[in-house]
Subunit: 454 residues, 2 copies
């Protein structure tokens, strides 16, 4: 017999301390994919967390870091897939953390640690929901599968190939995404899609070694100058990307998208305040065009620049090498392989054939149709936990490999998460609010129950 | 009675071991002005080296790092001033040094250490020459003064003011510069002037903190982009600096300069090979225009770029701050204060009023007239040591504060040094050849003798 929601929620409450302790153990384990730190250890640790819950668990190789795959049969013939990742962003700059990034600490109802929200807390929320069913019903209402990857923070470089090669293994009727949460007014959100990404590093190299700038300044090529000139050709000061063909496949926001955007709360003042901005690009101050642009506009963001001497004071050096990290956010129906080709053609055409492009990962955008029944189920089950159903946002400005789930596995994807706008993911003092964690667990319980019966 | 040159040279030979040991002690002491490391200690150490040779020695304050001033009376009423500096360039990148930068080591007739050529070996060569006179004649042929500064490697920020305030103290009839040496064929060179410099850091700041590039990419200003766009306006790809008024005061090379340049050996192939260049700027391949450009053309060199994430792999961050270090090399009659003002006006006019300019040091170019008798003395006394007189190069591409000596103190300046083209100054594995050190000492002995009698 099915346990009541009250009983299931009660089991979560009883488990509180164990949940936080298990999450802290996971957060104590660094797993920085960009720096290849702690990957194998974290794959083993997450696999053991699944095994002790009776999941058939395998650590499967990819061309990069391994995937943790797990499966446990349930009562109904429907299969729910949880997508999570065990890797985290680099913790730098370390001196801006209040407590060390890999020493989780609870302060004022929040847990602080690198990865506690993105994505270890989300993984823990799924496990805690499962624990309640297993405690009270001894089995799962439906079959549950887990796919944990170790390369989400470096662009899920190998996940697409892994999914294409494991379609049968990963077959499911719905997929709960690794992220999600509430807005600044604690309204839960359903971001029904994600922008794609194409992340590259441009490398200019003009000499075998650095030179004294007094010697070479007038006669030697300078890698930093070549990089600056090349970058300048990519985007103009009106934020228009100048790469030929870049916008060709862009699908604009639909009328329904614009309606949903118009219903969104005005988050511009909070963003301005929170990030210490003087203003937004192009003079925008909020409104539907602001919302549209934040999501439906592809980008070319310089994420990092490095060349020559960067320490205190002056050093008269002429750099032999200069590098820029660039992320392009893609909207439907742009494809990373097109951007790469267009970028190469652009650089060659503008006299920068010498500048190398290193592809560091990417995938196209993916969207779940707003009227999809699975999406609707996730939206509606939120009401019992949050007091209101999820507010649908047509797409997230961020990226993730949902494209492969949507377009290769043909599974609808929906979000149900434990994040909130102040969580500082990808930044120092990343944290979760414990109340968001508990709500996320309760929502997951309701999703599993309703999904099993759908 | 005057000791013979043979006896004076003999005293140097006898002292060999002590000279190298004293130089090693000095090089073991870090003195990195850009990083404010070891400054006071090195001022004290160099002062003690002068005091033990009977010099009245003072450590005099400036608005930055102190000046070491020393004086010892001699027989003739003429006064020779040695200008040197006790600071060195930063040693980074450390991993490219064969042995640690502040652990001097002699290998294959060379001494390796940060600062061993620039400028501690030069200072040691002056002292060793003085030691020979004191050993054999008990007093100096002429009055000798030393001015050692601690800010040469950061643009001699406070030396101009110090010199203006101490004209009487520093009065002299000739000044031997801190640097110099032989070319790739071991021909001694007289660089009868130096380009000036204006070193700045540009800082773009667009937010209080970094943001996730998925969140802010389409709507937040990006400091790295603003810096790139601003830099791009400074110089075009034909190497023409676009700052209004920048070239207004440029004095072109004279006919005599061009004759001297035409006599220079073709160093283009050696530079190309040594620095691993595919070619030089503007398709130059050597010849008199190559030589002219290397020296008589002002520059705008990006010495460093820094923004956002620079580690391995990818991080999807939108940087709040971006910085560029830039050095402008100045030819007569350009002035750093003009360049600063023109740069500010340029940035404002191009929409970059938000970009801050930090002035990190500078001074105008300075030239000694090629027919000056003191210069001629230094050129001719080289012959007995090197087999040929110095070859006159009208100006050096590098910079130094010789302007203050020439135009404020009205002292002719000439070079006599221990460097050679392979010495790696400002780079890993900086070194001197010991034979160059001994020749430099012998040349200094002859300069002192001839100068006292001039």
């Amino acid at each position: 017999m099915n346990a009541s929601m009250e009983m299931l929620d009660g089991a979560v409450k009883q488990n509180e301390e164990k949940i936080l302790e298990e999450l802290a153990v996971l957060c104590r384990q660094p797993s920085i994919s960009a720096q290849a730190v702690g990957i194998e250890e974290t794959a083993q640790l997450t696999a053991s967390m699944l095994r002790k819950r009776g999941f058939d668990t395998q650590i499967l190789p990819t061309n990069g870091f391994p995937v943790v795959y797990a499966e446990r049969k349930g009562i109904s013939d429907r299969t729910l897939l949880f997508y999570n990742h065990y890797d985290v962003q680099p913790p730098e700059p370390l001196d801006l953390w209040t407590t060390p990034p890999f020493e989780p600490e609870i302060r004022e109802g929040k847990m602080f640690a690198r990865g506690v929200s993105d994505d270890k807390g989300h993984f823990m929320a799924r496990l805690a929901a499962i624990d309640s069913f297993l405690a009270l019903e001894k089995e799962l209402p439906c079959t549950i599968k887990f796919l944990l990857e170790g390369e989400e923070e470096i662009g899920s470089v190998n996940l697409g190939a892994f999914i294409r090669e494991n379609k049968e293994l990963l077959a499911a009727d719905g997929c709960i995404w690794e992220s999600g949460g509430v807005d600044e007014n604690d309204i839960p959100e359903q971001q029904a899609g994600m922008r794609g990404i194409c992340y590259v590093e441009l490398v200019a190299r003009t000499a075998g070694q650095d030179a004294h700038s007094g010697l070479g300044g007038s006669i030697f090529p300078n890698a930093a100058w070549r990089l600056v000139w090349a970058l300048n050709t990519l985007k103009d000061q009106n934020e228009r990307i100048q790469i030929a063909g870049f916008y060709d496949k862009v699908v604009p926001a639909s009328d329904r998208d614009m309606e949903l955007l118009a219903d969104l709360p005005d988050n511009a003042p909070a963003l301005k305040e929170g990030y210490g901005l003087d203003g937004f690009l192009l003079g925008l101050e909020g409104g539907v065009e602001f919302q549209r642009r934040a999501i439906f506009e592809p980008t070319c963001t310089i994420c990092g620049l490095t060349a020559g001497y960067q320490g205190p004071g002056s050093k008269t050096v002429l750099p032999a090498e200069a590098r820029a990290k660039i992320d392009f956010r893609l909207v439907p129906d742009m494809r990373p392989e097109d951007v790469l080709e267009q970028l190469r053609t652009h650089l060659d055409a503008h006299g920068f054939a010498d500048i190398k492009i290193h592809f560091l990962g990417g995938n196209p955008a993916g969207r779940t149709p707003i009227d999809n029944p699975f999406l609707e189920l996730v939206v509606q089950t939120a009401e019992e936990v949050y007091g209101v159903p999820q507010r649908i946002v047509p797409m997230s400005g961020g990226s993730g490999p949902n494209y492969h789930f949507l377009e290769v596995l043909h599974i609808p994807v929906a979000m149900a998460g434990i994040g909130y706008p102040g969580e500082n993911i990808h930044a120092p003092d990343e944290h979760i609010r414990l109340e968001d964690l508990y709500k996320g667990i309760q929502h997951t319980i309701r999703i599993i129950r309703a999904f099993a019966e759908q």
